[in-house]
């Protein structure tokens, strides 16, 4: 059992008011809030050992390097990667996807196919479209059903010897659907295709075991996991990362440079050109410690309780329709009020101090499927409460009364 009252004390932001009301923060799928345990690490870094890493012989640099590499080990352990050099520090999920898409284009030729799911975020569509344009590869889409679930029988049909790569998110940001990624990975492998899983939405809620999943690439962002923005990780199987060409050139990623030829550094540095987000990386490690201290089993079961409570209470409102009704979903409720634009609902909720996301959530194809301009999305984290959900329900009722 989580002691939510105590947990909330870890987050200084919950003591502030928004528009004169206590903040109710339900935009966790966009970014999570940051606990003191992570903020302190950031302050400590800049106060005590700010230095560039991997190069300096001086003590500060050594200290910063140690802490940064410790963070990589924490990430490796958390995700159960086989080697720490399979963890590439990135600026976030989008960076990781672009790194793989860019490198993968050299393996593809005309006539090859890559599969993407209908549930993707734009950041997991656009880089692959760019890749397909460059390489003449065909992009095919795994469709979804009315509940917002990918249709696995259609996926089976789409797979063939031509399929080289499948990319799918672990959890949909717009609807909260948990995709059957183990099935998707195993099936793709039986055709010799590689799989990239976008874990941005999954990692705040569950702890993926990357070796057990046998996934080829997995990407995540720290800022959705109680860490800072501008840092994330790309996991790649060693054999893939060795094959992939470097993404960006610069310092740190080289072994030897002459004007005739440059040899690249070993993993993971081959993909880490330039000075990284050192403080962010260290704070990412602290965020992982924090989440593990709370415990993912407890997080999962409590968030599920919040999801069920919110679904039940919101469903009681006449004319409210929930999008994404899979049995397998995380604590995201995407909804609309009949005949009312989500922007209007979001605006009224904001006036009441309730932060939700409105719009297409960077997933326009999903909105087109449901023939809606967007939704109101309330996404819950382990530090939210049922009282806050009550406030949301009251807010939605008020918005409905004002806007109808």
């Amino acid at each position: 059992m989580l002691n939510i009252e105590n947990i909330r004390k870890d987050f200084p932001i919950f003591s502030r008011k928004v528009n004169g009301k206590p903040l109710v923060y339900f935009d966790n799928a966009a970014t999570s809030q940051t606990p003191t345990q992570v903020i302190d690490v950031i302050v400590d870094y800049y106060s005590n050992y700010n230095a560039n890493i991997h190069r300096g012989v001086h003590s500060l640099s050594q200290e910063a390097t140690d802490k940064y590499e410790q963070a990589r080990l924490k990430i490796q352990k958390h995700f159960n990667a086989k080697h720490s050099h399979e963890i590439i520090m990135t600026s976030g999920t989008t960076h990781g996807i672009n790194l793989v898409a860019n490198g993968f284009s050299s393996f593809l030729k005309k006539g090859d196919e890559v599969l993407v799911s209908a549930l993707e975020h734009h950041s997991n569509i656009v880089p692959w479209q760019m890749l397909c344009e460059r390489s003449g590869t065909t992009l095919r889409v795994i469709p979804m059903n009315q509940d917002g679930e990918l249709i696995m029988s259609e996926y089976d049909q789409l797979l063939s010897e031509k399929t080289k790569l499948v990319f799918v998110n672990h959890i949909s940001n717009a609807l909260g659907t948990i995709n059957p990624i183990k099935y998707i990975i195993d099936k793709a492998h039986s055709f010799g295709a590689a799989v990239l899983v976008d874990g941005a939405q999954a990692c705040p809620h569950l702890k993926p075991d990357l070796q057990q999943l046998d996934v080829d690439f997995y990407v995540a962002s720290a800022h959705k996991m109680c860490g800072p923005t501008g840092v994330g990780m790309l996991y790649g199987k060693e054999e893939w990362l060795k094959k992939l060409p470097p993404y960006q050139g610069g310092g740190e990623m080289i072994a030897e440079v002459t004007f005739e030829k440059t040899t690249y550094a070993d993993l993971p540095h081959k993909f880490e050109a330039g000075t990284p987000n050192i403080c962010g990386g260290i704070a990412f490690g602290a965020a992982i410690d924090y989440l593990n201290h709370i415990g993912f089993d407890a997080i999962e079961s409590y968030e599920h309780e919040l999801l069920e409570y919110a679904t039940e209470k919101l469903s009681e409102i006449d004319g409210l329709k929930i999008y994404g009704t899979s049995k397998h979903k995380t604590s995201v409720v995407s909804f609309n009020l009949e005949e009312i634009h989500p922007y209007d609902v979001g605006t009224i909720l904001d006036k009441m101090g309730i932060a939700v996301r409105t719009g297409h959530h960077c997933a326009q194809p999903i909105m087109d499927y449901f023939k809606i301009p967007g939704t109101v999305r309330a996404s819950f984290a382990f530090y939210n409460t049922k009282q806050e959900i009550d406030a949301l329900v009251e807010g939605v009722k008020k918005a409905k009364a004002m806007l109808s």
Partner: protein, 140 residues
């Protein structure tokens, strides 16, 4: 009335509202009641895509004054459009080009004109001015 006078009138009206609810209810009612644009002008050509709500703007010139009509799929956005149209429509191109939108701050709607709001209103105001510039060029 000049643009300045209309703006002052609107500031006056809004000063009577006691809280955000009254202000927003007023805008919502404005958004609901006003027919803002002829359906035939709600075309792709006249659309300004915000990230969240869509805005349509159409302009024509009558007796050297620019007449604007506009619409949105979100009602609060539509209410704000109604206010903007009241200020800018039926004015000379020169006055429209020179007008500022500071009054929006004074009536407590500043956040809707922030570029991050992505409702299309910032682009809409730009578009109103572009139309005015185009008509001004014609007059010259």
């Amino acid at each position: 009335m000049t643009i300045k006078e209309i703006q002052e009138e609107i500031i006056d009206e809004f000063s009577m509202f006691e809280d955000w609810e009254e202000r927003y209810q007023y805008m919502i009612d404005l958004g609901k009641t006003l027919p803002l644009i002829d359906e035939q002008y709600k075309t792709e050509e006249n659309i300004i895509k915000g990230c969240q709500s869509k805005v349509w703007v159409y302009a024509e010139m009558e007796n050297d004054k620019v007449i604007f009509t506009a619409d949105s799929d979100a009602i609060i956005t539509k209410g704000i459009i109604a206010i903007l149209i009241r200020v800018f429509s039926n004015q000379s191109p020169k006055d429209i080009i020179e007008a500022d939108t500071g009054f929006i701050d004074e009536i407590g709607l500043k956040e809707h004109l922030s570029p991050t709001r992505a409702n299309g209103l910032v682009s809409m105001i730009k578009q109103l001015k572009m139309y005015a510039i185009a008509y001004q060029t014609q007059l010259n």
